[in-house]
Amino acid sequence: MTDMIEVRGLEKSFGDHHVLRGVDFAAESGTVTVLLGPSGSGKTTILRSMNVLETPDAGVVRIGDASVDFTAKPDRRAIAALRSRSGMVFQAHNLFPHKTVLGNLVEGPVQVQKRPVDEAAADARTLLAQVGLAGREGSYPSQLSGGQQQRVGIARALALRPEVLLLDEPTSALDPELVGEVLAVIRDLAAENWTLVIVTHEVRFARDVADQVLFLDEGVVVERGGAEVLTDPREERTKRFLSRVLDAG
């Protein structure tokens, strides 16, 4: 089986700060990859490189049959093709405040993918039911709780029918009592064999869903493996990080 995602030799600097120093990983279709590491380790930059919100200095990103080599200056069409293979869930949800929940969900399918409005709206209603928000189509984001907003954010990403879903600390900005409802939705997606790449600090959640764990520090993958990385890490740095996070949690 060929991998759904392939990342090779990813390099990125912000000025003098060398954020990614040659990151490689691959993920099979239907698997959950968790990116873990202290802040500044580069995990969010990896995610944002996969849909070119950041342009890497070097390296290759492939999702499905769309591939971009950043060593040369990539052309716009290749970037657009790569972006269309993934959906993104932001830490701060970034819903469009001037559009209703339904408007947020159909914006991409109708405006970008040129799908008929009726079809996109029907899809959107199904997705809203799936994230437990049936009947909230007409609400504006400001009328929802933080957890509901993030679930709309997930539905919006899914509405584009991507092959991969990228989730950037989807619960970090939420009040603790709202974290569970969002994690439950992500757990469902994992169970439905979506290919997910998640940046998260929710170690217990990650243990449950992760097929692959990458522990990053200072722009390199320090340790990688299955969920056992989270229970029985080999590397000292991984151990220190996990004990700190688990103590805090």
Binding site: L95, F96, G108, P141, A157
Partner: protein, 494 residues
């Protein structure tokens, strides 16, 4: 946020601008067609020479009738263009008019630049003072005093030569106001014009205090030096009309004397021409002013605001662009617009640009100048509003696959609009009021109508108050609409 507009987008914006400019293509004078179209510049606010008949609102007066007779004799198709006196010579230079019929006095400076017909009026200067001024009776007494003159009038030079300080006014009427109010000491002007004013207005608060020298002045039609053929045709017509008594008849009608020959203007007899009450004047002028508002100010406002907003968004995006040269251009544009008076911008567009081959009609010229002005002022408002939209919105639009222009149009600008509406409302109100300046570039509008009637009737306070009222009502209605619009744009925010 640093976002770079794609070149195609900017080209599109430039294209819109180009289309706007193109609609104002040069007016064709129809040189080869018969009869020849001759555009006549005249003030329309200088009775009895050139003014609107208070009853019919038709352009009339001694100069206008003489011009019509000459045009008929010469076989010209006349088109009258009304403009303030100081705009007439620039309009002649920039080929917007072909001849000035406005009591233009022949002097050496003008002879050096323009062609003059045979004179059709002979007059001499008089000094006008307030009734109780008794220390000014001759030009010698003007030394060190202040007079009110129109800038390009011959009398301004006469007053200066006499050692007077000259304060410039737009028309004779406002100058009289200044004399009455004691803000200036005197006016030097044509005896015929002054006598007519005194008779028409019944104003006994000013008087003719004495003659301004012995010199007899000759008034004639002014042409461009490149149009000797028009001058020759006019001269031939004037000779015929003098010989057959037509000019004398017109002169008798207006002055009870023949001012079209030398020595005929010493004793003119001018009858009062307007006996309406203040209320009747206001009532009769209300409708022409309303027409000026509907045909002039309002369409000017709408066109200029729409185009100005396009320019403002383009300039704001250029300012936010990562392409440095676009940022520089936008900065320069905004700085120039905000750092120069609107009236100067109007004059550059209308009177200046023809020198480099860009010859716009009055209406397009006013729209171009007002649009550029609005664009420059609104650009910074739009830029600040765009910056107030969180960067995450742009990123969210990007990851659902939108390109730069889609994300601007569908995601960023609608949110920016909500922030921008209150300050842009102020820009719109300013624009509405600024359209009153359009009459300076020959666009008929509300305030121009007020000025025309005020010049003929001297009812300054009621007419200008009514003009103010019209503007205030329009601005008030616009500000009423602003509230619902803000609520509509904010309906999603809690």
């Amino acid at each position: 946020m640093q976002v770079s507009p794609r070149p195609t987008v900017l080209l599109a914006v430039l294209g819109v601008l180009g289309a706007v400019l193109a609609t104002g293509g040069p007016a064709t004078a129809g040189e080869d067609a018969a009869p020849q179209v001759v555009r006549v510049g005249t003030e329309g606010v200088y009775p009895p020479f050139t003014y609107r008949d208070p009853d019919t609102n038709e352009l009339t007066g001694f100069d206008v009738e003489v011009m019509r007779a000459i045009g008929k004799e010469a076989g010209w198709d006349l088109r009258f263009v009304e403009a303030p006196f100081d705009s007439l010579f620039p309009a002649l230079d920039s080929r917007r008019i072909d001849v000035i019929a406005n009591q233009v006095t022949i002097n050496p400076e003008r002879t050096a630049r323009y062609l003059f017909s045979t004179p059709y009026t002979y007059s001499h200067g008089v000094i006008v003072t307030a009734k109780d001024t008794d220390d000014i009776t001759s030009l010698a007494d003007l030394k060190g005093r202040t007079t009110a003159q129109t800038a390009s009038s011959n009398w301004a030079q006469v007053a200066k030569d006499a050692g007077a300080k000259v304060q410039y006014v737009q028309d004779f009427g406002p100058g009289v106001q200044l004399v009455e109010q004691g803000r200036v000491d005197a006016i030097v002007n044509d005896n015929i014009a002054v006598l007519d004013y005194l008779a028409t207005s019944g104003n006994d608060r000013v008087k003719i205090a004495g003659d301004a020298g012995d010199e007899v002045l000759e008034q004639a039609l002014a042409f461009r030096q490149s149009d000797p053929q028009l001058q020759q045709e006019a001269d031939a017509a004037i000779k015929t009309l003098t010989d057959d008594g037509t000019l004398a008849t017109i002169s008798e009608k207006y002055f009870g004397a023949d001012v079209t020959v030398p020595g005929g203007a010493t004793d003119v007899d001018i009858g009062a021409s307007d006996s309406r009450t203040t209320w009747e004047v206001v009532k009769d002028t209300a409708w022409p002013m309303f027409v000026g508002l509907v045909k002039g100010n309002i369409p000017l406002t709408i066109c200029s605001f729409v185009i100005g907003m396009v320019l403002a968004v383009a300039a704001a995006l250029a300012r936010l662009s990562s392409i440095r040269v676009l940022d520089r251009i936008a900065r320069a544009y905004i700085s120039i617009i905000r750092g120069t008076p609107l009236v100067v911008q109007l004059f550059i567009v209308f009177f200046g640009l023809p020198a480099i081959g860009i010859d716009l009609d009055p209406y397009p010229a006013a729209i171009v100048a007002l649009s550029l002005n609005v664009g420059g002022y609104a650009a910074e408002v739009v830029r600040a509003s765009i910056l107030s939209v969180p960067r995450g919105q742009y990123e969210a639009a990007t990851v659902i696959g939108m390109d730069y222009w889609q994300s601007m149009r569908r995601i960023v600008l609608p949110q920016a609009a909500r922030i921008a509406v209150p300050p842009l409302g102020n820009t719109l109100l300013s624009l509405i009021k600024d359209t009153a300046l359009a009459s300076l570039v020959l666009v008929p509008e509300l305030f121009r109508e007020a000025q025309v009637t005020a010049a003929a009737t001297t009812e300054y306070l009621p007419l200008y108050t009514m003009a103010a009222l019209y503007f205030w009502v329009v601005c008030y209605l616009v500000s009423l609409a602003q509230g619902p619009l803000e609520r509509r744009l904010s309906r999603y925010a809690t």
